[in-house]
Symmetry: C7
Subunit: 94 residues, 7 copies
């Protein structure tokens, strides 16, 4: 298992389908939008200036939208994962 440090979050990227049902390739501009992912592990939180540890807002299993090009790719046990900071997460899909 991978346990991220601090305010980091590990996600599995949900690849946007590059072809529509009818097989039309989407134009590039459509692919510049932020990406969707699924949270697979969260860090123990961020240390505030007063010494308290602030837990993350997201939880394992959350479906999220995050800034494209953020984070570091890592392959672990055959899976391609991405380690990002929680601040790169824009919103949770509920």
């Amino acid at each position: 298992m991978l346990k991220p440090l601090g305010d980091r979050v590990i996600i599995e990227v949900v690849e946007a389908e590059e072809k529509t049902a009818s097989g039309i390739v989407l134009p590039d501009s459509a692919k510049e939008k932020p990406q969707e992912g699924k949270v697979v592990a969260v860090g123990s939180g961020r240390i505030l200036d007063n010494g308290a540890k602030e837990a993350l807002e997201v939880e394992t299993g959350d479906h999220i939208i995050f800034s494209k090009y953020s984070g570091t790719e890592v392959t672990f046990e055959g899976k391609d994962l991405l380690i990002i900071r929680e601040s790169d997460i824009l919103a949770v899909i509920k």
Copy 2:
């Protein structure tokens, strides 16, 4: 539903009409001004250095003016939305 994180706000952009009633296209300079939008979701707030969570000043439904070119575009359930930070909001139209 999309729930923004931290001090982020999700808005629907209110497109300025590019033609006046008489059909005259406005000059570019007029379009460089800030944009109008409607708040559709707000984050739970910003964590202060003392650990308290500061709620946002804007609420869902507010009509706002925000800095052009700020934020990240996202398409969700067929709608074009923009995720911005509250600090990019200049004023609320009341």
Copy 3:
């Protein structure tokens, strides 16, 4: 009505007369000085690190001097306004 957010202030610019009484155009250097304006709306204040909200020093109706080229222009109900941060205000004319 426009309600600015945080430590922002909305002002009406008081245009310096570009011609003197005798019709002489002032040289450019004279126009590089800071501008005068009238405060038409003030934000609710700046959040300090300890969570308190610090009210602004200026009030609606104040005549102020502010740094030229600061802020964002906005046209609202036919009036040309400028949204600036209070820190761009140099002094109040009393």
Copy 4:
């Protein structure tokens, strides 16, 4: 009257004489040194992170030395003044 905001100070510049008694023009290097001024108005102080307002060290009437090229020139009621931050004041002449 002009009331500066925050930690700002308004000064009248004391022009260094460019010619010595014997009429010799001083070399440029001599003019690169900091300038002397007289404080004509002081702001109400700087807000600290704990919300307290820290009064300025200088007072109206003080003769000071300040960093050349700092501040913003303003003409008010026919006088050429300079609005600077207190941090641009190097020392008080006592």
Copy 5:
């Protein structure tokens, strides 16, 4: 023995095998990913603004993933080590 200062950590890099079992050299892109290491010593922690010392999250013996190209190489008692800051550690392998 080497005792790192503050929030620093000393690690032994676990070299990724550059050839697969069948002898095929992996493409460069695969080598751009973060590196694996083993923690051999940890600093006494980071001083917070309130004066408290925050202990590190990682411990001696932990297997970690860290940002490539971070830290300073040092050879000590014949071993090649790397001194990095804890903030360069992405995750712990458990």
Copy 6:
């Protein structure tokens, strides 16, 4: 008298002799080292974030070593002085 503001210190530079006893001019590299000075006045201290005023570590009369090229030259009552921040002082010679 000159009273420096805040964490500033006024010093008289102690010129390193550019010629040795035998008249040999020292190479340039030797002159790139930090300079020696004598403290002639100290500011009342630096305001901390909690509002307390932290007195300076150096005192009038101290012989110090400071970073070359730091500070602002000023001529006062015929003496060439240098106004520097205490953080530019490297060490006190005791």
Copy 7:
């Protein structure tokens, strides 16, 4: 004696031997590694935001490893010394 200010430390550099026993000059890459030094004096500590003074982790006599190219060279009583900040010290050799 030289007493460093604040979080500064004075060290004597321990020169790495540039030739091995057999007289072979080490390649440049080997000399890019951090340097070893011996602490000869330490400052009284760093002032935290809450006004407390945090003592340094290193002590006079410690053998340390520090970042190459950090600090300021000074010659004092015929000895070549280096004044660095404690944050440039990577580890203590115990």
